[in-house]
């Protein structure tokens, strides 16, 4: 017996997703967009943090109201299992046999305590592909560090590298390591699946989310490791692009602030900008860096007289890289995101409708899409237990009585 199969290049690929919050679930979301059948296993007692953080539908907190949870779990089937209970562990083992891929993000060592770690699961399913994703990895002196991607941002250097030189670090928005990490694990999982299909060999992937994030700091790391200076936070300054920054624009009545980002990448772009703002178009980048403060004041004077949208359009028409700092209302109305169909409306049992992001890429032949809304807490328990695993009503009742499901 089986769950209804998805459509797309990964149709028939079964994924058991017991990761949580963002870095892990994002991978399962991508797989299901392209046809994989993904069962998201949640603890009935320890609520997924993604369910209790903003943005909430209509700003109302609640475990079924989080837009984040809906966004990273769309398309999945939902099962609650309390893995501390032996009956739940037995169900889990049966699902491992069904799965091609298992994703998990427990603190290193937790699954071993339940004999559900990779060596044990591989005995059940020799060609299993398994992803274990934690902040700092399965091994090493700090593998027990708890935390979310916000802690990860601290441990991956990004917290310190975001801020003004004269102030403490401001840090990036949210749990930064959750953003790069799934991009690396998804790519590796798909390579592993290809490898298994060709050779029959299973694969285990130990992901330190911080180490994925460090790939995006590679130039700074190579520099410091090879005798160069250690990069420090420097506001929006860029030695190779000057002027380069965020400038205040005329506010519209409904906004408390309005900004435009401007990045001048070449002398040609500088000449175009200089003509418009009334600066000397023949300045070299060296001269522009010397006169940086005065140039920025001249730009601010020009931007302050127009809306961010007008500044963006005027500068882009001249080939200068510029964009208003979009807020989420701007994103909702962005004609480019609309052109790409980035936002998908999905039916939602409690909210009538919800909105999720689409896949990260447009495939010309096999476009991905969220196949169904994210599961409510334990929404598919019965379906998974009876239709997929073939449990009888009595067996399900017995399971429920053991505390495995709630």
């Amino acid at each position: 017996m089986t769950l209804p199969e998805g459509t797309g290049p990964l149709a028939g690929v079964n994924v058991l997703d017991l990761s949580w919050i963002v870095a892990g679930p994002t991978v399962g979301r991508a797989l299901t967009d392209y046809g994989a059948t993904v069962i998201r296993v949640e603890s009935p007692s320890r609520v997924d943090t993604a369910r209790v953080v903003a943005p909430f539908h209509a700003d109302e907190p609640g475990v079924e109201n989080s837009g984040l949870y809906v966004n990273v779990n769309a398309g999945k089937w939902g099962l609650t299992l309390d893995l501390r209970i032996s009956e739940a562990q037995e169900i889990f083992r049966r699902l491992v046999v069904w799965a091609d891929i298992v994703c998990e993000s427990f603190t290193a060592g937790v699954l071993s305590r339940w004999q559900l770690d990779e060596p044990n699961l591989r005995r059940l399913k020799p060609d299993l592909i398994m992803l274990s994703s934690t902040l700092l990895g399965q091994t090493g002196p700090y593998n027990q560090v708890s935390g979310f991607g916000s802690q990860g941002a601290g441990m991956a250097g990004v917290q310190d590298l975001t801020g003004w030189a004269d102030r403490p670090p401001a840090g990036p928005y949210g749990p930064y390591t959750d953003y790069p990490a799934p991009r690396f694990s998804l790519t590796a999982l798909l390579a592993a699946l290809d490898h298994r299909n060709r050779t029959g060999e299973g694969v285990f992937i130990d992901q330190a989310q911080a180490e994925g994030t460090l790939q995006l700091l590679a130039p700074a790391l190579i520099n410091v490791k090879n005798g160069g200076p250690a990069l420090e936070r420097r506001g929006n300054d860029d030695p190779q692009m000057t002027p380069h920054g965020v400038f205040p624009c005329r506010r519209t009545s409904d906004r408390s602030e309005s900004w435009v980002a401007i990045a001048v990448a070449s002398d040609e772009q500088w000449r175009a900008l200089a003509e418009v703002i009334g600066a000397n178009p023949s300045l070299t980048i060296g001269e522009r860096r010397e006169q940086q403060a005065a140039i920025e004041a001249t730009i601010s004077n020009w931007t302050a007289q127009r809306s961010a949208a007008d500044a963006e359009e005027a500068l882009q028409a001249l080939g200068v890289s510029a964009h208003r700092l979009s807020n989420t209302e701007d994103a909702a109305n962005d004609p480019q995101l609309a052109h790409r169909g980035h936002f998908h409306r999905l039916p939602h049992t409690l909210h009538g409708e919800t909105t999720v992001e689409g896949p990260r890429y447009l495939h010309s032949e096999t476009p991905g899409r969220p196949q169904r809304p994210a599961p409510l807490y334990g929404e598919h328990n019965r379906q998974i237990l009876s239709e997929l695993l073939g449990l009888s009503d009595e067996e399900i009742e017995h399971l429920a009585a053991s505390g495995a499901l709630s």
């Binding site: 837009g67 700090y142 460090l214 480019q336």
Partner: protein, 412 residues
Amino acid sequence: MLSPYRVIDLTDERGVLAGQMLADLGADVIQVEPPSGSSGRGVAPFFADRPGESIYWAAYTRGKRGVTCDLEQPRGRDLLFRLLESADFLFESSDVGRMAALGLDEESVRERFPQLIYVSISAFGQTGPKAHYAGSDLAIWAAGTPLLMTGDDDRAPLRVSQPQAWGHAAADAAGGAMLALHARHQSGRGQHVDVSAQVSAAQSTLAQVLAYQLGASEPERFGGGIKVRGQGLRGTADVADGYIVLLMAPGPAVGHFANHAVRWLVDIGAIDAGMLDEDMVTYADRLAAGQANPELFPRLQENMRAAVASRTKQEMLDISIAYDLLLVPVLTVADLAESPQLEHRGFWRDIEHADGRIVTYPGPPLQIFVGGEPFGYSHRPPPTLGQHNAEIYAEIGVDANELEQLNEAGTI
């Protein structure tokens, strides 16, 4: 794992990470540059002992082989077509419209090579009203919404000081390419994968990009923390030698970590043992019901800040592990270079460059075990300009004579 596959990588600094991710997984990736060198070779920083040699370019071409080929010349394009005969993937990140101007747009190329997976990385995507916008790290971060959310509330919004936007997009491109490979296994056909860095940036907001459409408030920036309904909550604290990320909050999701912090503060004598009776998991609910002291938690936070202020980042990390706190140091780039965790995991790779010097690189991004054995990552250094011309062009049937002609014509 990807050793059966070949990538022709036409990217510049904008998309150069994508091919490397596949190279790290075993693919044969050939970086193709114009004879004058990629614009990526001009991107800072530069090696301290080799002025003008781009660390950026080295960082993301490590693991690849390299050839030169002038795609402006018809002869260069013919050479590219010969390379593509044995290729599974093509990656490109040029200005939108440039590939079409060269007759190398995805439709033309895929017509000739229907099995090819053609991946385009651009700021806004290949089509649409902003497709021809000039892109940049800052403009992309602005257009995807994370920029407005980041920074101190009394100053302009901020990016990360090591540019990030193109890296997110290129990393997405690698995943999109792999999905297309699985589609090809099903259909026998390649396809076009269109990656927009704006979308990749939007995907880096903890779903806040959806706030307006869900009827939720706009996120507000607050340096070193978050703002909830206009109220700033610091998520960092000062310690003796820098900063720590410190999350201490009541509630069902993280309250138990706050209980652990109480235990530590009691153990060091900073607060009275009576605090152990206060359960931070239920505190918020009790507060709402009028059954808890509203001053208790703010006082606890003050006690915590005072206790950490005299200790170092390393001391606080050790305490965090011993007590299971939500607390880690804010590591600087200099700290990362000395990290015992990265050292223990063998994160650094010493790689011998073509000129004989040893350069230390970060990586691998993942520790992978195939059939129980550690996956063997390549130690291939970044290619010098045209380093593998003779080798690779010989592989596709270019003989010594023709190679000479291609050199003389400036094609390679």
